[in-house]
């Protein structure tokens, strides 16, 4: 007679832990070595959260067209320049960035901005690096040159928890990208300037703490200004650059009272990067952990 099964066998806790450890050891070499894979995961979840929970007025078609245009432009330039299989990831990152930030009341603004952003990456190059952060350039170009495009900085709301999530995820991403310093320096400089203003004007401190709830600020710090290809290669250069961008943004927002201070400040400061690179020399960033620095292809 067969024994009757009365319960499933219980795996002893130790074994489970040991198994998990073994899994991790096996998994480690398989994890993507390219930091952009993490960036894409982060941006993707950010966009989903925004669309689902924050009522982003973004149409699925705009999203689809942004990706198609970014990938197509990337492919065309790769073909034309005879480059090997590289940069698809960065085109996706750019498309995500544009989708999160840019708003338009037509279907053609997003793909045009994406094409422009990717094209600039191949066309505007200094010292073997592209000059402008593609998403930032795309956003500013679209809002100034194209009709019916805008940025909604207030769309994120101000829940601290929401922002904390951004910081946690963003921090991980940039830590992986090994250029986390600039994001933190920038945040410290910007928040410091805002704090000085709040103190000088005797405003409630809630004005300052509300900055933490700005998804746009976190996105800017962790995905735009910290884009390793478009910032100074040397650490000292990056610190100077981050402080500079924060100062320009402050003047833009609180002296000139103009909207969209952060993307504009970055755009205005970008031409300084090759100059700073000339003062402090350091190797160019490589996206992949194993890639040699000089191999870093466009994107």
């Amino acid at each position: 007679m067969r024994p009757q099964v009365i319960a499933w066998p219980v795996v002893p806790r130790r074994t489970a832990r040991a198994r998990w450890k073994a899994w991790r050891e096996r998994l480690a070499p398989r994890l993507p070595r390219d930091a952009r894979v993490f960036q894409i995961l982060f941006l993707g979840s950010l966009l989903s959260l925004g669309v689902l929970a924050r009522d982003f007025t973004l149409h699925p078609a705009q999203l689809a067209l942004t990706f198609m245009a970014a990938l197509a432009t990337q492919a065309i330039f790769m073909q034309a320049l005879g480059l090997r299989h590289r940069g698809v990831l960065s085109a996706i990152v750019t498309a995500f960035g544009l989708s999160i930030l840019l708003r338009a009341d037509s279907l053609w603004v997003h793909p045009l901005a994406a094409a422009l952003a990717i094209a600039a990456k191949f066309l505007v190059r200094v010292n073997g690096k592209h000059l402008y952060n593609p998403a930032n350039l795309g956003v500013v170009a679209a809002t100034t040159l194209l009709p019916g495009a805008w940025i909604s900085p207030g769309q994120w709301g101000n829940d601290l928890a929401f922002a904390a999530l951004f910081v946690a995820l963003g921090g991980t991403v940039t830590a992986r990208a090994r250029r986390v310093d600039i994001a933190w320096v920038f945040l410290a400089a910007w928040l410091g300037l805002v704090a000085l203003r709040v103190a000088a004007l005797g405003q409630p401190w809630a004005v300052w703490t509300r900055q933490f709830g700005s998804g746009a600020l976190m996105l800017f710090a962790f995905f735009m200004i910290s884009d390793p290809m478009t910032i100074p290669n040397d650490t000292r250069g990056r610190i100077l650059y981050a402080i500079l961008v924060a100062c320009i943004a402050y003047v833009w927002a609180y002296v000139a009272f103009r909207p969209n201070a952060l993307p504009w400040a970055l755009l205005v400061a970008t031409p300084l990067v090759p100059l700073i690179d000339r003062i402090w020399r350091a190797p160019i960033y490589a996206w992949r952990v194993d890639a040699a620095a000089k191999e870093a292809a466009p994107g």
Partner: protein, 456 residues
């Protein structure tokens, strides 16, 4: 005619199947345009908003701004005073006493609306037939925006003049304590804590526009209420200094801001701008109490989004409306509301180059630590708050074979409407059902009850 039950745009992401998404989305865009309201406007219900509300019209193009403020002040005119921080000294010519009717007109044009459709006779096969809607309603009234100053130091009177029933001084101050003392000494009754609230404005070198009622002039008008005040100035800042108004506020305040612009929709840059729920079907009894219902919907949305959110209730140009709760504003009315770019005696009837965004917020000192900052976006897609009533066809249940399935449909629809209303207002569904005279229906048998009917 497409029935007005357009759902909110899909928020689902379609990261895969780019091409399919593109086609689908293009179709959605097309149908959004075609799904317009095809009825006419019948009536308008009185819908008083909360009593602690104020209304402001801001007309802005480039750096030029005209602000109109309506005070629903019901107290003793002698007690009334208004302090507004302004970016520059306003001359006599920059201040004007407006017409209350302008606010009524713009309120009526932009108010959340109710549209009614009557079901066609189910016994007649569907023809391309025009449904006719009825009723629309409005909300919004206004109140407040008053500072009650009372009695001077480091304070300079930059200008002093009388406009309409108002006695106006424009002050500059070196420090907020001095300003508070000055106001008190000069007979303005200023609430406690004014100095702290005035300080950020003093430090930003702003001037203070202070108005009080000239009792003799006011007596001449013979009116119980005060005229709206308007002032025109130039400033790079697109903002509204609401924080000062909170000083003598008890409890949450409602503010309705009408933004008149030339290019596009206005939204806040330092708070979240949220759209009110719209285009949903509500039970028929809402017709007689739309004001109260909308109030309840607004209360519930405020509760859900938190008080830090600013709600968009309307955005449209002056060319048309759909359905119209009132005619679009004429060129004269637009100019009266401050839209200086509209040419004087301009083309009548034609579409005027003006767009109006209606923003509604409920705030306390805690929820609004910072004055409202705005931006004019490039968005030109019209949008409004519209709720739909559908009146069933009433006839004998046995009038024709199509009648029974139709009645079943109506019952399902009414159930849906009850659920929608309960969700929008956070109300009790049982009460709503009773109000709708919805017969309590036995729930359908559960699956095991059909399997073993004997167990029931």
């Amino acid at each position: 005619m497409p029935m007005p039950s357009r759902a909110l745009p899909s928020r689902k992401l379609l990261p895969v199947a780019f091409a399919a998404a593109f086609v689908a989305a293009t179709l959605t865009f097309v149908s959004a345009g075609a799904d317009a309201f095809c009825g006419f406007f019948v009536g308008k219900a009185d819908a008083p908003l909360g009593n602690r509300s104020s209304q402001v019209i801001v007309a802005r193009h480039e750096r030029k701004t005209v602000i109109s403020m309506l005070n629903e002040y019901r107290g003793e005119p002698a007690q009334f005073a208004l302090v507004v921080p302004v970016p520059q000294v306003l001359e006599r010519g920059q201040v004007h006493v407006g017409d209350r009717r302008t606010f009524e007109r713009i309120d009526a044009f932009t108010a959340p609306r109710l549209a009614e459709y009557r079901d066609p006779d189910p016994c007649i096969p569907p023809l391309p037939q025009r449904a006719f809607p009825a009723t629309v309603a409005a909300d919004a009234v206004a109140k407040k925006e008053r500072q009650r100053p009372d009695s001077a130091l480091g304070v300079a009177v930059e200008a002093r003049y009388t406009v309409g029933e108002y006695e106006i001084v424009v002050l500059s101050a070196k420090e907020s304590d001095g300003l508070e003392t000055w106001l008190r000494r000069n007979g303005y009754r200023i609430p406690a804590g004014a100095s702290a609230a005035l300080r950020p404005y003093v430090l930003q070198n702003m001037k203070f526009f202070v108005a009080r009622v000239d009792l003799a002039e006011h007596a001449k008008t013979g009116r119980a209420w005060l005229s709206p005040l308007q002032f025109a100035f130039e400033s790079p800042k697109f903002m509204l200094p609401v924080r000062l108004g909170m000083l003598n506020a008890d409890g949450p305040q409602d503010l309705v801001v009408y933004m008149l612009t030339k290019e596009g929709r206005v939204e806040t840059t330092n708070y979240r701008t949220v759209r009110m729920p719209t285009n949903v079907e509500l039970p028929a009894h809402v017709r007689d109490e739309f004001g109260r219902t909308y109030q309840a919907i607004f209360d519930e949305q405020v509760r859900r989004e938190g008080r830090g959110a600013i709600f968009t209730e309307f955005f449209w140009d002056m060319g048309w409306c759909d359905p119209c709760s009132a005619d679009p504003l004429s060129p004269e009315e637009l100019r009266a509301a401050g839209a200086f770019w509209i040419p004087q005696g301009g083309s009548k009837g034609g579409a005027q180059p003006a767009m109006v965004t209606r923003l509604h917020l409920r705030y306390t000192r805690e929820t609004l630590p910072e004055d409202l900052a705005f931006q004019e976006t490039a968005d030109r897609a019209p949008w409004q708050v519209r709720y739909v009533l559908r009146t069933p066809w009433s006839a004998d249940a046995n009038a024709c074979p199509a009648m029974q399935p139709y009645l079943e449909q109506v019952r399902e629809r009414q159930e849906r409407e009850a659920t929608t209303l309960a969700s929008l207002t956070g109300g009790d569904i049982a009460t709503i059902r009773t109000r709708m005279n919805l017969a309590r229906r036995d729930p359908p048998p559960r699956w095991w009850e059909t399997l073993w009917p004997a167990n029931r």
